[in-house]
């Protein structure tokens, strides 16, 4: 009986794991895709308001965040290469840098949102209600899109934290690294989503 249970749980199929993560990524693309669709509908309706509102965002911080995420995608890929070469030390360092980049991204987001909140601009605020349609929609979409994206940053960080500890205790190693591969893949997705969000919100001036 014990052999039975062990036999089922030992079943390991890396290709299946990777396929599973790719399929999950497709669902995320459709989730954000729906949101981008709504954004485009309203931007087509209120092009001037959207342009004006986007001037309220700091392109500089947005661009810095973009670079941070791109670097973090690079470091997580380097972590994967490191573990494939059995270099646990470097793998941990690179995952650590990735997580650090993610934290900085979130900190910048906190600064940006904080600035808006300070001016009374947040979902449901009195000021929001006073804005005209186009501006109201733009800022609602701003908070919705960046908020949903930030949630996915947190999910990605959680996955990478798990990977960090599994690299540390050697359950991710140069013979079995599909979990890190999948975590890195998810991280690339989170980066990719930002690559779309950034120009849509920040660069339409």
């Amino acid at each position: 009986m014990v052999e039975h249970t062990a036999h089922i749980e030992e079943h390991r199929d890396d290709e299946a794991s990777k396929l599973g993560m790719w399929l999950f990524i497709f669902t995320e693309l459709l989730l954000f895709g729906g949101l981008f669709l709504v954004y485009s509908v309203f931007r087509m309706q209120y092009p001037v308001s959207f342009h004006e509102s986007s001037l309220e965002l700091s392109v500089a911080i947005g661009a810095i965040n973009t670079v941070i995420l791109l670097v973090s995608s690079m470091t997580v890929a380097m972590a994967l290469t490191a573990i494939q070469k059995n270099n646990t030390k470097h793998a941990l360092i690179f995952i650590g840098i990735t997580l650090f980049c993610a934290a900085v991204f979130l900190f910048n987001k906190y600064l940006e949102w904080g600035a808006k909140f300070h001016h009374g601009l947040y979902p449901g605020s009195e000021l929001m209600q006073l804005l005209d349609r186009g501006h109201h929609l733009y800022f609602s979409l701003y908070f919705f899109m960046t908020g949903l994206h930030a949630l996915h940053i947190v999910i990605g960080m959680t996955l990478l934290f798990v990977c960090y500890f599994k690299v540390k205790n050697k359950s991710i190693n140069n013979k079995d690294y599909v979990l890190l591969e999948n975590g890195a893949l998810y991280w690339h997705l989170v980066d990719l989503i930002w690559i779309f969000v950034f120009p849509l919100l920040y660069l339409i001036s």
Partner: protein, 536 residues
């Protein structure tokens, strides 16, 4: 120690003792067969609550005006009826129940690709269901928007819309993860020698279904999130009073909800495609056509959503485009019907309950499908949109179609799942009662719908009363038939005569293993035939 060729001692999956004992061995089960039963018991419970809500509506409709409830309560009753039946019964329905049990067996596998994810899917299903129940009892009162949650009523009504939509969001995850699991299972875990075109047609239908679950459900996910955000922050995505677009909600909603009906229907067609060859002892006619038509239905099904919106104010161009595609999507379904009937030609027919249910399915599906064409054509739809005609159409398709396919599946596979047989005579009597009750309940709705009876109305002009009374009586007859059917099945599962491995002389892999199967399904390597329906 145990290698592939060693024969292990047979223990039924129902008796297997693993790491957990008692109720925990069920709640923590990762065995796809146990997860099937968990889904089946939860889904059947929700089905019966939904039936009772339907009966309440039928009681209300016996007389014009208030009979047993006022208008607001009626709105809440049909809303819950829809939410339960759609999100908690027919969407998970066949995939999560029979898909879970038989997909791995049909492809010669021990389990699905991700058994723990499978268990997690069921847990999420339970959480979402609890949230749906909570939406009924929390202080703002049950939602009264209809299961379609159209804006702007859904953005402004004071009822528990947020909890209900959050429940649907959570249930959506269960659907997505099941779809993901099945796609990977079919790609990665077919036994050696079983290529895609050697699979039986039930896995093919589950494959097409899984892609829809995976790709369409996220769209309703984001739509419901936006609805919640709109209510919480008064944003104005959908509410015209805030500058929003109610049609945007309808488009987003139906971009998921139309493909969702194929999630309901494709596995049902897969079941029928399994039953007919077995009871005709004949090769299925047009295997490749049926396999490809499943994919075609899934694909084209993503392009027809606007046929729910012909009277909403869409442009004429949009209307004719959606109408054209709706007619096109009917073609692969018709192909299946022709192939089923052709399979019977020169077959050696064994008139057992599963086959009778399959025949009834075909009859009811044809009625549902052809009335769908009437709805798909813009000119005629304008007359019957939002009338009882639509209600009759979708009940013929979902209940008469998928529901009766579900009953067919239980009658077909119960002996395999429980190792016991039920009483055929009572099963057949219940079927006849169900058939009579079902048609009496829904056919009059076609007639009064064309005559102008609106849907979701609890009041009506006196001229519709005879049809309403007939319909309500039909409802009671159907209820009696359902109770008889279930009682017979439960009795059979618990204490029926022991069933052999292959009571129907079927040719697919589940009939080559004991009834009930052992934990890992195949104690010996299965023999994979290149033609899964080889009857000679």
């Amino acid at each position: 120690m145990s290698n592939g060729t060693q024969k292990n001692e047979y223990v039924s999956y129902l008796d297997y003792q693993g790491k957990y004992k008692g109720i925990m061995s069920w709640i923590m089960a990762t065995d796809h067969k146990r997860i099937c039963l968990l889904y089946m018991y939860t889904i059947m419970s929700f089905f019966f609550i939904g039936v009772l809500l339907g009966i309440m509506m039928k009681l209300e409709m016996i007389t014009p005006g208030k009979t047993i409830m006022n208008a607001k309560m009626y709105n809440s009753v049909f809303t819950l009826h829809g939410i339960l039946m759609i999100f908690m019964v027919v969407i998970p329905g066949l995939s999560a129940v029979f898909g879970n049990f038989f997909l791995p067996i049909h492809i010669g596998a021990k389990d699905v690709a991700f058994p723990k994810l499978n268990r997690f899917s069921w847990w999420i299903f339970v959480v979402g269901s609890i949230m749906a129940i909570l939406s009924q009892v929390l202080k703002d009162g049950p939602p009264d928007t209809g299961w379609t949650f159209y804006a702007p009523y859904s953005t402004s009504t004071s009822s528990n819309v947020v909890m209900a939509t959050a429940a649907a969001f959570v249930l959506g995850f269960s659907s997505i993860l099941t779809g993901l699991n099945f796609i990977v299972t079919i790609h990665q875990m077919r036994a050696p020698g079983m290529k895609f075109f050697n699979m039986p047609l039930f896995p093919w239908s589950l494959y097409a279904t899984a892609w829809i679950q995976l790709l369409a459900t996220p769209v309703i996910g984001i739509t419901l999130l936006m609805l919640i955000a709109e209510r919480a922050f008064k944003i104005g995505f959908f509410d015209p009073a805030l500058g929003g677009d109610p049609l945007l909600f309808q488009h987003l909603f139906w971009i998921y909800s139309h493909p969702a009906v194929y999630v309901m229907m494709l596995p049902a067609m897969g079941v029928i495609t399994e039953i007919i060859p077995t009871f005709c002892q004949r090769q299925i006619y047009g295997y490749k056509a049926i396999a490809i038509s499943s994919l075609a239905i899934a694909g084209v099904g993503f392009l027809v959503w606007g046929h729910h919106m012909y009277t909403s104010g869409m442009s004429d161009t949009a209307r004719w485009f959606f109408s054209l595609l709706t007619f096109i999507v009917a073609v692969p379904s018709a192909i299946k019907v022709f192939n089923w009937i052709t399979t019977m030609y020169k077959g050696s027919i064994d008139v057992k309950p599963p086959f009778l249910y399959a025949l009834v399915y075909i009859f009811l599906f044809i009625i549902g499908g052809t009335t769908g064409l009437l709805l798909g054509s813009v000119a005629t739809d304008v007359q019957v949109h939002d009338t009882a005609f639509v209600v009759a159409h979708f009940h013929y398709i979902i209940f008469g179609g998928m529901g009766f396919a579900f009953f067919a599946a239980i009658h077909y596979w119960l002996p395999k799942m429980y190792g016991r047989m039920y009483n055929f005579k009572i099963a057949n009597i219940a079927l006849v009662i169900n058939f009579i009750g079902f048609n009496m309940l829904y056919f009059p709705q076609f007639i009064i719908g064309v005559q102008g009876m609106p849907r979701r109305y609890f009041d009506y002009p006196a001229q519709f009363q005879p049809a309403q009374i007939t319909s309500s009586i039909g409802g009671f007859i159907l209820l009696a038939g359902l109770i008889l059917m279930i009682t017979n099945l439960v009795k059979g599962a618990r204490s029926g005569a022991p069933a052999p491995a292959n009571p129907w002389n079927g040719s697919t892999l589940e009939w080559q293993i004991p009834s009930p199967p052992s934990l890992e399904n195949f104690d010996e390597e299965p023999v994979i035939k290149s033609n899964p329906y080889d009857y000679k």
